[in-house]
Symmetry: C2
DNA sequence: TTGTACGCGTTATCAG
DNA sequence: CTGATAACGCGTACAA
């Protein structure tokens, strides 16, 4: 503990505390001596004591709502990538990362880790169906940021891709390839997906293509339902020459469903995914998709949250999506 | 804080503390009264104060070594699945989960979070190339468990699949399908993979098939290298009719490489993966693979660690792998 | 620039 | 079964 180091260095505990905290109230010489002794003895400040004293945990909670999708949602490669990047960004800032999956029915889940002082702030990956809960928490002043869509008049800071533009780009690309019967696959209740769907509709309207309700499938993030719904659709005899999927996972599943139904991708049907996860380049055929910049997004999330914690103002931000053309269109 | 609740309940702080901790030293009646008041006022024990007093953080660190594979390793669906299940298992036990990615060059990384009292114990996902470091830490009494291979005379507790058997099953399956020129793809420096490779060799030997060194590719977990190496192999004109991959990710990559080289899967070459991640059923063709039981594995990891923390003895355990036959063989 | 003294919010010990 | 008290290890206001 600190008193040992103080004794070894022949100074008081306060001096050790200040030296280790990099206080400017201390001479560079003593600071270096103390730091060296601490290192040699493998001493590290007790985080519990520090937290108790300072009222801060030096920890960021990462929350993953699972309301509208159980495991699938999490194991989607997109979440994994985001989480990996968040872990790096948080650790790089010297903070610890508390991971929490929010199961259904947990009340006040956003503020719970903060109120109980286990974390100073939270990062929420994906709005899921929780926009209202999040907005209320923001009004109450809970410090958190969200990866997801920016909704009209929301009170919290969100970082995310311009989903409307992403959906529009994906659809326009198919239209340019001469497709006219384009399906949309995704759970529009999730705001990000809802935006992508709006972009899809806009692109169709811009090209005077009638949007057919039968081609718009309400599919949860999981791949199982995508496979089934699309197979059913094809079997029903509806004509179809393009698919805009709300995630790469859904797109991969769609490719399989189409292929097994006797349709060729991309010859008969073009498929566009969303996310550009690592796996997207290894499917057969490699996936044309809308890339979300995950690494910069993660850094942005952490920095915005730290700004909020520091009392600075922070704005929501939308990142530009990018069409990555591979072989599925 | 606790004194507020004490005042409201008309009892001492000690009583509140005991009531909330479920101590048997307290009458059921007062306990219920105190608990109710605490709930009504949204009171939760301050974890920093509790940790300071008890010397326990009530937190489990999950460490992900990246020594022999950077992002790929983590974003492999297997890691994501494992992490999701660990998060659930840890939270279910009332513990918090601290996530840490171990970058190269971090010394004493296993014990760091424990020594600094941020976590009571650690779960390490994958041995990577860290077996020696882990073993030394175990000898020093650091409380942790590992997902990975059980190595001869190791001093730490490990949970994992019987990788030798898994590799053997995969290879035998291909042999039964009449394959004789079977390649192995994976980074054998990672102990899990080394075991799978041994199983592969054993299966070949049992069937009197000569193991060809040219067919054994040293491939990191990432998919990029798998794609390139296998394409090169095929181009070199070596005959080949089967592939045992060290992960589903590698297998998917292999299927693409083979297909693009003009070989048909499974007609010309059978491919077996490892893990049975969710995505494995959605590839084209759906992947025959060796299933690892991730969810039970995660629960086992947490429970073994908690046993160790409770001072109880804990044994390593190997889970039986299972061949899941789909369309790639 | 350094040291002294106190309190952060709990829980364990001991006395009743 | 309950209450008073001390101590967990640190950071900071205040004094020097």
């Amino acid at each position: 503990m600190m008193s040992d180091i103080a004794a070894l260095a022949g100074v008081s505990e306060s001096t050790v505390s200040r030296a280790l905290a990099g206080s400017s109230l201390i001479s560079e010489k003593t600071r270096q001596r103390v730091v060296k002794i601490a290192q040699r003895h493998g001493y590290a400040v007790n985080p519990a004591a520090r937290s108790l004293r300072r009222g801060l945990s030096h920890t960021i909670a990462v929350m993953i709502p699972l309301r509208h999708a159980h495991n699938q949602h999490f194991s989607d490669a997109f979440f994994a990538d985001m989480l990996a990047n968040l872990a790096d960004a948080v650790n790089a800032r010297g903070y610890d990362l508390l991971l929490h999956r929010v199961s259904e029915g947990e009340a006040n889940w956003v503020e719970q880790p903060i109120q109980s002082r286990r974390a100073d702030g939270a990062i929420v990956i994906g709005q899921s169906l929780e926009h209202k809960a999040l907005d209320q928490a923001a009004v109450r002043g809970v410090p958190f940021v969200v990866w997801g869509a920016r909704l009209p008049e929301q009170h919290y800071v969100s970082i995310g891709t311009d989903n409307f533009l992403g959906g529009k780009l994906a659809t326009e690309h198919l239209i340019q390839r001469g497709r006219k019967r384009i399906a949309f696959l995704g759970d529009r209740r999730a705001p990000e997906v809802g935006e992508r769907h709006r972009g899809y509709l806009k692109a169709l309207a811009d090209s005077d293509i009638r949007a057919d309700r039968k081609l718009q499938l309400e599919i949860p993030f999981g791949a199982d339902e995508a496979l089934r719904s699309l197979s059913d659709l094809v079997r029903s005899g509806v004509s179809l020459d393009g698919v805009v999927a709300a995630s790469d996972t859904i797109a991969m599943s769609a490719i399989r469903a189409l292929t097994e139904s006797g349709l060729k991708v991309p010859a008969d049907v073009g498929v566009v995914g969303f996310d550009d996860v690592a796996m997207a380049s290894y499917t057969l055929p490699p996936l044309t998709t809308i890339r979300q910049e995950i690494a910069p997004g993660a850094v942005l999330l952490v920095d915005k949250l730290l700004a909020i914690l520091a009392g600075e103002p922070a704005q929501s931000q939308q990142m530009k999506p990018k069409l990555v053309v591979r072989a599925s269109t």
